[in-house]
């Protein structure tokens, strides 16, 4: 019979790596299992920005003395690696107009503080795992977990080599498309919101004005984003769609050869390896627990719970497992503190909203020049934020204020906006199902 661990953690992303670190500090007999061999390498696309000095899941994260500090939850994590300051989020229209959330010009002159720090997520994950290992946590890499089952006194997970691992608890931090969530039947109750396919190319020698922001380019057949990378002059361009048959390459090429973007890339050279992702987006799970398996981070969310949105539940789940072991309640009651934490800070304030998301695509309604016109109506820079929910409400507020002007000047655009808003959600979701690939159970 193989060893019975207190807790097995699947996945060495930010969520699992944090859970492993906490399990080690708390003196648990723990193991972390990861399918990659090189934990530091990030192949799945991620812009790697951490929002700082603003509210984020009721936390107010700050960075000082080589540590990210989570004052509300009361913990810190070490990070001593490269960083780049980010001042916000800009929407860029087809002709190059900007709707600015955050002032990159004032920011780069030091007149405005950053709202985000771009980091090396692989290094962050590896630092956490190294700390866990130093506290006696077993680290198994090159190991894919393919199955999970509950036995009377433990949870058994199996890898692709046929090995079994036994734990009193399992923390599933295996990310979006979580196989553990799927195997445990969580997906039966979730709403399928689409298959999101995204890929990015990295370039050097790019010249973009006001570049220390995340740039979302509208008016293309797919969602095109631009973001700086850690080295100076390096950027990545990504193309994403909910239609798995969309030709992302062709649309990215069209974007890169259209002005003003072509000028930004005229001396650019593609470098490094491409990154990508394909995710089945399903509504967040309300109670991330079943058969002594706790879900953390993207495994229980949709995707993009974010780096800190995975770290915080990883921390909370490992602490709850510790309490359960101390009190001897090896069950749902034992880890109640984690389930309450998830409900209070993630599910109630944000999860519910995301579960009812799914609106018609702007590109199906507005022409390129309509988008140019709309952005020109709000030339003022909005207060900087990297908080997804704040970005959404800033956009909503700014454009609600100009609705009378749109009605007056461009009733045709107003009509399109109204048609978009009243498009039934069931039809949006049906389209997403049609164009996606719902492998969920």
């Amino acid at each position: 019979m193989t060893e019975l661990y207190d807790v097995l953690i699947v996945g060495a992303g930010p969520g699992g790596a944090m859970a492993a670190k906490v399990a080690g500090e708390n003196g648990l007999r723990a193991a972390i299992i990861e399918r990659k061999t090189d934990i530091k390498a990030i192949h799945r696309i991620c812009t790697m920005i951490i929002n700082i000095d603003e509210e984020n899941f009721a936390e107010y994260i700050t960075y000082r003395n080589k540590r990210f500090i989570f004052p509300h939850n009361g913990f810190t994590i070490n990070y001593d690696g490269p960083m780049r300051k980010i001042y916000g989020f800009h929407i860029i229209t087809p002709c190059g107009n900007r709707f600015r959330i955050g002032d990159a010009i004032a920011g780069s002159k030091g007149e405005k503080p950053p709202v985000g720090l771009m980091i090396d997520k692989g290094l962050l994950n590896k630092t956490l795992v190294d700390e866990a290992r130093a506290n006696g946590v077993d680290v198994f890499t090159n190991t894919n977990i393919n199955n999970v089952r509950k036995e009377s006194d433990c949870v058994v997970i199996t890898d692709n080599w046929g090995n079994e691992y036994r734990g009193k608890f399992v923390i599933a931090a295996d990310g979006v498309n979580s196989r553990l969530a799927r195997k445990l039947g969580f997906n039966k109750e979730r709403i399928f919101l689409g298959t999101y396919k995204d890929y990015a190319r990295a370039y050097e020698g790019v010249e973009i004005p006001e570049a220390e922001v995340l740039m979302f380019c509208m008016g293309w057949k797919c969602s095109i984003s631009l973001a700086p990378e850690l080295p100076e002059g390096h950027f990545h361009v990504s193309a994403a769609s909910y239609d798995i048959n969309q030709d992302l390459d062709a649309e990215m090429d069209r974007f890169l050869s259209s002005e003003p973007f072509a000028t930004w890339f005229r001396n650019a050279k593609e470098i490094g390896h491409r990154t990508s992702c394909v995710s089945n987006i399903a509504s967040p799970i309300q109670v991330p627990f079943k058969d002594n398996v706790l879900l953390v981070g993207d495994a229980g969310w949709m995707q993009e719970t974010s780096i800190v949105g995975a770290i915080m539940p990883g921390w909370s789940a490992a602490n709850a497992v510790t309490e359960a072991l101390i009190t001897g309640h090896i069950n749902k009651e034992g880890v109640k503190n984690y389930l309450d934490w998830w409900d209070k800070y993630l599910f109630q304030p944000y999860g519910k909203r995301l579960a009812s998301s799914g609106s018609a695509e702007i590109r199906d309604y507005l022409a390129a020049e309509d988008i140019d016109y709309l952005a020109s109506l709000v030339p003022e820079v909005q207060p900087g934020t990297m908080n997804f929910f704040m970005i959404m409400s800033t956009i909503g507020r700014a454009f609600s204020a100009v609705l009378p002007q749109i009605q007056e000047e461009r009733p045709d655009i107003m009509q399109k906006l109204m048609a978009m808003r009243s498009f039934p959600r069931e039809l949006v979701l049906a389209k997403r199902r049609n164009e996606g690939c719902a492998i969920m159970s």
């Binding site: 399918r35 990659k36 061999t37 090189d38 390498a41 192949h43 799945r44 696309i45 090159n142 894919n144 393919n146 692709n160 979006v176 498309n177 196989r179 298959t195 396919k197 995204d198 890929y199 798995i244 048959n245 992302l248 390896h273 491409r274 990154t275 990508s276 992702c277 394909v278 995710s279 089945n280 690939c437 492998i439």
Partner: protein, 59 residues
């Protein structure tokens, strides 16, 4: 049979997650199809953002 073009593959593991029968694994940081398990449903060829999985004639 279905194989993954190493040159094109980013290693994002999207196909690993979507394969209905867990026929795709990451071994030594390389994404590979286990031909004994693969049922040639071609889902991986559809979901891959980089067009890396493809059908090849049986050897």
């Amino acid at each position: 049979m279905v194989e993954i073009d190493k040159e094109k593959c980013s290693g994002c593991c999207g196909c690993v997650d979507h394969c209905p029968v867990a026929a795709i694994n990451v071994i030594d940081d390389e994404v590979v199809v286990d031909q004994d398990i693969c049922m040639e449903c071609l889902i991986c060829t559809k979901v891959c953002p980089l067009g890396a999985p493809h059908e090849v004639a049986q050897a």
